[in-house]
């Protein structure tokens, strides 16, 4: 049983095939990167795995359980969290509150008990707050806790998004181009952070264009082009693969 | 009930249906180019009717001039609405936009009440009141004026959108605003134009409708609601479907009113809207695959 298994996955937009017959798997406890030229279908694949887009055909299994067609929140409850390529923080909420939303899947009190402050609500609220602070401290954002998330600088918004996803204590985290828009110093920090995340017991699956980062931290690499899987292997295997070079540089090379 | 009553119901249904179609098309045009559902759409019809009343009774314009001046004025009002209320907003939310168009529609209604009062106003029919006999049923001649004018406008609109550069630019903007901007289309101009055209359509509907049903300041909202029903039923993005949906809605309303009860005339369309939202929110005339791609 693979940790995450994608079988014959297809997704069409009208006539366009964004992902086509994709077979891939992710192993637990490793960093897997998915690379490929623009429009290769990487983000679409992420959206399919997290349930944000319906699958045209094919199956997705997470820890042996068929998650194809499940709504996004159910997939989140199974332990899959993600970040977005074009940052999607809740800019109408504070930094702390953003991360507190991350703890949503680890808490359970409903509207009725919250309204009446039934026993257990206050202690759960304290748990959520403490957990959120824990992740803010890890990400070195604790001093900004009460700030409006929308006012954070770009780089910190990316980190906040990761903190929010980690606060769900996921088994698998999907990072969609986490280094996009970061400077080299921030990228260095990010690669350390991603290793830290793995050490804390979360399997990492990322899409990234920064090849230096990818080759540095990944254990496995999946290469897509035009919605198809080209190859899968370790960084050194991928770097030597002819098809990959063709996909990136074009036919004539 | 004889055949003649059915024919009469058919004609009154298709007449009011064509008005709904005009309002629905107005919704669609603005939605396509801006992503806004302009809830003030019905007020353009109301303004069209009432401005025509003033042109005809106070200024004693002949009917063709009344028609032209009214449509022109309503078009200007629609454009001004965009310039003063919609354009100045920076990064408006869906909620904000809805509130703005609602506020504008209330304001227009209030101003109309201030100017024309609460009573109903009428203008004479375009060519007398002598009914025309169609297969034994007597149909008022204004019905043919309404159908004639509206279908002429629809055909002109269709030709413009299909064959002129500006029409193609409008369709391109509707398909993808950013892409249209990148290929050099002046999106700002297209947005203004779409407000102008939508308002103009409302104005036309108002002038031709008023001789039949009279007009008062509060007629806009029900028309907007029904037009919106037609837009949703038509699938938001499909002009032909929208027109068909408008006509269908008019027919259903007319037959239910004539055959069952007139008490609930104004809520039939809304029931249909809620049922369509339940069963097929992408509309009856659009592929659900397309609808999923809309940000709406």
């Amino acid at each position: 049983m693979n940790f995450l298994e994608i079988k014959g996955l297809c997704r069409n937009f009208g006539g366009l095939r964004a992902v086509c017959d994709l077979n891939a798997h992710i192993e637990a406890g490793r960093i897997t990167a998915m690379i490929g030229p623009n429009g290769a279908g990487k983000t679409t694949a992420f959206n399919l795995v997290t349930g944000l887009l319906p699958v045209s055909t094919g199956k997705i299994f997470f820890q042996g359980k068929d998650i194809t067609g499940l709504p996004p929140h159910k997939i989140a409850f199974l332990g899959v969290a993600r970040t977005f390529q074009n940052i999607r923080i809740f800019s109408n909420m504070s930094v702390l509150e953003n991360v507190m939303v991350g703890v949503h899947t680890r808490s359970c009190k409903g509207m009725f008990s919250s309204a009446l402050r039934l026993p257990g609500v206050s202690s759960e609220e304290k748990f959520i707050r403490d957990e959120a602070f824990k992740y803010l401290e890890w990400m070195e954002l604790a001093h900004l806790a009460s700030m409006d998330a929308g006012n954070l600088p770009f780089g910190q918004q990316r980190i906040l998004e990761i903190a929010r996803a980690l606060a769900a204590k996921p088994k698998l985290i999907l990072l969609d181009e986490p280094a996009a828009g970061l400077n080299s110093q921030e990228t260095n920090k990010l690669s350390k952070l991603i290793r830290n995340i793995l050490e804390s017991g979360v399997t990492v699956f990322l899409v990234e264009h920064d090849m230096e980062l990818v080759m540095n931290i990944s254990h496995d690499i999946i290469v897509l082009n035009n919605g198809f899987l080209i190859t899968r292997g370790t960084p050194s295997e991928v770097q030597r693969n002819k098809d990959v070079i063709t996909a990136y540089l074009g036919e004539e090379h | 009930m004889g055949l003649d009553s059915y024919i009469q119901l058919f004609f009154s249904g298709i007449t009011i249906g064509s008005i709904y179609a005009m309002v629905a098309l107005g919704f669609l045009i603005i939605y396509s180019s801006t992503g806004i559902i302009n809830l003030a759409q019905g007020e353009f019809v109301m303004l069209g009717g009432l401005i025509a009343v003033t042109c005809h009774h106070t200024l004693h314009f002949p009917m063709p001039l009344t028609f032209l001046v009214t449509v022109l004025l309503v078009t200007v009002i629609g454009t001004l609405f965009e310039i003063t209320c919609i354009h100045p907003l920076k990064n408006p939310s869906v909620l904000g936009l809805i509130m703005i168009t609602i506020a504008a529609s209330i304001l227009m209604r209030g101003i109309a009440m201030f100017i024309w009062g609460k009573e109903e106003h009428g203008i004479p029919t375009f060519s007398g009141d002598k009914s025309v006999s169609v297969i034994g049923a007597s149909v008022p001649p204004q019905v043919f004026w309404i159908l004639g004018v509206i279908f002429t406008v629809l055909i002109i609109l269709f030709l413009i959108s299909k064959y002129t550069l500006i029409g193609k630019a409008m369709r391109a903007t509707a398909a993808d605003r950013t892409a249209a901007h990148l290929v050099g289309i002046n999106v700002r101009k297209i947005v203004l134009l779409s407000f102008a055209v939508s308002a103009g359509l409302g104005g036309v509907a108002g002038v031709v409708l008023t001789p039949m049903t009279l007009m008062s300041f509060d007629r806009g909202t029900p028309l907007a609601l029904k037009g919106f029903c037609a837009t949703v039923v038509g699938g938001l993005g499909n002009p032909a479907g929208t027109v068909i949906a408008g006509l269908l809605l008019g027919l259903i309303e007319s037959f239910v009113t004539g055959l069952v009860s007139s008490h609930y005339k104004d809520v039939i369309a809304l029931f249909i809207l809620i049922i369509v939202l339940f069963v097929k929110p992408s509309g009856l005339f659009s592929k659900s695959e397309e609808a999923k791609l809309k940000k709406f």
């Binding site: 993600r82 109408n92 009446l116 | 809805i98």
Partner: protein
């Protein structure tokens, strides 16, 4: 709910407690009862719009269902007002599910239009279903509320009843807002996709808050007819829905206290100015448009801005003259 809100609640209680001491005029007291009734609607609507970011243009419809259910059941069928109020809530919840379930699955304008249509359906029906509602002219003789053997008939007792209900609802709502559910609602407002991906069951919470706000409108509707002791369709038309919107917009969208203040202002203002009479919609339109364009955060937003401005001025001055 934070320390801040406990203080506000206490302050609120004190104001309610002592206000009648200064308002001896029975008519003004009656107006304040209306203000309390509208405050209940405004709190619910503010939860829906200001926090969850969903738009309802048909809250007058839910207000009407509560009002008519109470009026009909207590006058013609000898129900106890509390029983009638609860049955009204049940009907309202059912209606809210009927409108909300299809339209809340979709984003954007659908809920606005569906609720606008729903409000019209209720308004038209309340005038047309003469067998049930006595038609457009309505009927009088709705009994007063009775609680534990006491009939709440005087303006003073109605004032205390309505505002205490408002206070309780305020506390419940603040509790929701300052809980994981409240944060989930705000996250939906902020970014529906991200919220969903973080495990928030977006559709469920949207429905819940919609039903909650509809139920509050229903309670307010019941109180309304018991206060007026009369019911007719005119109290429940589109203008009423719009008035509710103006109340929460003027108070500031993301603030429950603002909603209460907005409700109070827009109940009292027309009474004291008397200018609204016939041209109320003109005024409402102008106010709403002006507010949307120039005061998107309402009066609370404006006050905060002014306070900030004054503070920063004062700061620079103290810095310049140490």
């Amino acid at each position: 709910m934070g320390k801040n809100n406990y203080i506000k609640c206490a302050l609120f209680l004190i104001i309610i407690g002592f206000l009648p001491v200064f308002v001896s005029n029975q008519y003004y007291l009656s107006v304040l009862v209306f203000a309390g009734i509208y405050a209940i609607v405004a709190i619910g609507l503010s939860m829906l719009m200001g926090y969850a970011g969903q738009i309802s243009l048909g809250h007058a419809g839910f207000f009407a269902i509560g009002g008519y259910t109470s009026a009909i059941l207590t006058k013609f069928h000898n129900f106890h007002p509390l029983q009638a109020m609860i049955i009204g809530i049940v009907f309202t919840v059912f209606a809210a599910l009927l409108v909300g379930l299809p339209s809340l699955r979709l984003r954007g304008h659908y809920l606005a239009m569906a609720t606008l249509g729903f409000g019209e359906i209720i308004y038209v029906t309340s005038g047309a279903a003469t067998g049930l509602t006595e038609g457009p002219s309505g009927f009088s003789g709705v009994p007063s509320i009775a609680l534990a053997g006491f009939t709440i008939k005087s303006e003073l007792s109605k004032f205390y009843l309505v505002w205490l209900v408002a206070l309780i609802i305020m506390i419940l709502s603040l509790n929701i807002i300052h809980s994981r559910i409240g944060r989930a609602l705000r996250s939906i407002h902020g970014d529906e996709i991200a919220s969903n991906a973080m495990g928030v069951n977006v559709a469920k919470y949207k429905i819940q808050v919609f039903v909650y706000s509809a139920a509050l409108a229903s309670i307010a509707g019941s109180l309304y007819v018991h206060h007026m002791r009369f019911v007719s369709p005119t109290g429940f038309n589109l203008n009423k829905s719009i008035l509710f919107l103006i109340m929460i917009m003027s108070g500031g969208m993301g603030s429950l206290w603002g909603a209460v203040i907005g409700a109070a202002i827009f109940t009292l203002l027309p009474e004291f100015l008397g200018v609204f009479n016939d041209y109320d919609i003109l005024m409402y339109g102008a106010i709403l448009l002006g507010m949307m364009m120039f005061l998107p955060h309402g009066l609370t937003g404006l006050t905060t801005k002014i306070i900030q401005l004054v503070l920063s001025k004062w700061k620079t001055r103290t810095q310049n003259n140490p």
